[in-house]
Amino acid sequence: MIYETRRSQALLEKTLMRGNEAVGEGAIRAGCRYFFGYPITPQNELFEYMARRLPEVGGTFLQSESELAGINMLFGAAAGGGRCMTSSSGPGFTLMGEGLTTLAAAQLPAVVACVTRSGPGLGRIASAQSDYRLATRGGGHGDYQCLVLGPNSAQELYELTYKAFELADMYRNPAIILSDAILGQMMEPVDLERLPWNEAPQREWAVRGKGDNPRKVIKAAPHTDDELIEWNRCLKEKYDRCREREQRYELLWTDDASVALVAFGSTSRIALDALTRARGEGIPVGMLRPISLWPFPEVAFQEVLSRTKRFLVVEANNGQMVEDVRLAICGEAEVIHYGVGGGHILSPDEIYGEIVRVYQMK
């Protein structure tokens, strides 16, 4: 439904953008003025967009010598109070794990966009959703989480990137935009004026030289066991608060659905066609689309569990989000996974076939 509304809006008021560029413009609109990154396909348009746009708004773009250096430059920029981001894909995103955990440990806000390609290993540049687990489990060592948002259109890439900066600051924690090669390369009209120009908030905790004040220390490690206990307690409290307040999702035709399709990002766009066709043929199927991938929108499942007995999880991987669906449902309904781990993009016909099969299952 939401798509119908968008189509009817005057296209003239919109800007035709690639998904990767929409992320960049969302960041700039949010007040991001520092970008550190390393080339990797399929995120290069975002990297190059920032290279072009940041100097126009008085910002700084710096190409790092590696993703390791890039995420650590981000750490330094965040410590200094800059609104900053980086982006990468699979192999580079893996390298950023050490920085993500340290940003979380030091409670520094920063945004990382992962434009997923297929793995494992060097993989291929073809689209996949196989970095879901890496992103939603934090990406690095230790007890921490990143806030993860999974947009499914250029408009959402724009708006949720903007939102990611707000969330990162609100919780003083890294936030991840989990995109993929399809979303990144796809061109769609974006209504830029839906968001106001924003700027980085004042951050009293940032280091810039102590001046006449007591010195500040951005700590990535506690000094004593007691400090460590308190440190992890604070983080847990913060993540509990996120779970309570930041679950985002979209429900489509779930009011009378006996089967609910669960999909995020680009797969939810493909699934929509299959869903529309199935509905047209009288199959009571709906869709639950997680938008926040961490925290996972467990409340949405509770909402539909009373009437939905089967959940068909469709994702472009060998079964990653399905684990979260099973945890959310806790054995109260059947969960079926349908997906492929990269190299093949599921077609609406294939998903339609699976919907019919699952609906007819004894």
């Binding site: 520092y34 550190f36 700084t60 710096l62 790092s64 010598e65 590696s66 390791l68 250096a69 890039g70 650590n72 430059m73 981000l74 750490f75 330094g76 920029a77 965040a78 410590a79 200094g80 109070g81 800059g82 900053c84 050490e98 920085g99 340290t102 030091a106 280091v207 810039r208 030289g209 102590k210 001046g211 006449d212 010195r215 500040k216 220390v217 951005i218 700590k219 990535a220 490690a221 000094h223």
Partner: protein
């Protein structure tokens, strides 16, 4: 008798140091080097706008020693963290303190590229030729034949490589950098080290480029030598492989 005149104070702790005692082993050079950095910060009047960056290893706790804003960086990533910080806060005086495991092993990429970009930062590189904090393993800087817990038979270059001379390597990277190697084994060299550290900060203050001082340091605990023998080893074995001097110095403006 009594004290009819107040005693003249002839020696005191630099204002840029906190009151927290050094955590270092007896005979370790780190304390001397930290003190020199603090003295230079006092003399240049930069403490209020300084931001120090710690690294992993024996320098990990030096955020407690300097009385200025501090950031803890991951192992080897100090120069990248310093880069991000300096780009956001160009008015700050940003320095890293890194050991040889940090700078010459895991952080080789970050230091080379920070130097090549001529980041306006100051790097204090403490080279004691061994991984100190983790228990005396071989560092990239460990001398040939030197025994470590990684290679108890001593470093054999045909098997585990040659010691890295970082100051010489980095001096090739950019003409707009000040790169020197000094030692703190006696008073004369301590004074020379202070002068070099001062120059490495001054080049940043003037916005002229990248400054790095490699300071040869002792590690009596992991060298299995007493402090005096450790100082003697610096002269007899370490300096012959790691010659002291200025390897790169930018043309002064004006």
């Amino acid at each position: 008798m009594g004290h009819s005149h107040p005693m003249k104070r002839i020696f005191e702790k630099p204002a840029s140091m906190t009151d927290i005692p050094f955590p270092y082993c007896p005979g370790c050079s780190h304390g001397t080097i930290h003190r020199l950095v603090a003295e230079v910060m006092d003399e240049l009047g930069i403490t209020r706008r300084a931001v120090g960056i710690t690294s992993a290893g024996c320098t990990v706790r030096n955020w407690r020693q300097f009385d200025c804003d501090m950031v803890m960086a991951l192992h080897g990533r100090g120069p990248a963290v310093a880069t991000g910080l300096k780009r956001v806060r160009p008015e700050a005086i940003v320095f890293t303190c890194q050991g040889d495991g940090d700078l010459a092993a895991i952080g080789t990429g970050e230091i080379v590229h920070a130097a090549s970009r001529c980041e306006c930062i100051t790097v204090i590189y403490v080279n004691n030729g061994v991984f100190g904090a983790t228990g005396g393993q071989q560092a990239p800087t460990t001398l040939i034949g030197q025994k470590t817990t990684s290679y108890p038979g001593g470093r054999d270059p045909s098997f585990s490589g040659y010691p890295l001379r970082m100051a010489e390597m980095l001096s090739l990277v950019s003409p707009r950098s000040y790169i020197a190697r000094t030692s703190v084994h006696d008073v004369k060299h301590i004074i020379a080290t202070k002068k070099a550290i001062r120059e490495a900060f001054q080049i940043q203050i003037d916005g002229r480029g990248f400054g790095l001082v490699e300071v040869l340091a002792t590690c009596p605990t992991q060298w299995k030598l007493d402090p005096v023998r450790s100082m003697e080893r610096i002269v007899q074995e370490v300096i012959p492989y790691y010659p002291l001097g200025t390897f790169s110095s930018p043309q002064k403006e004006g």
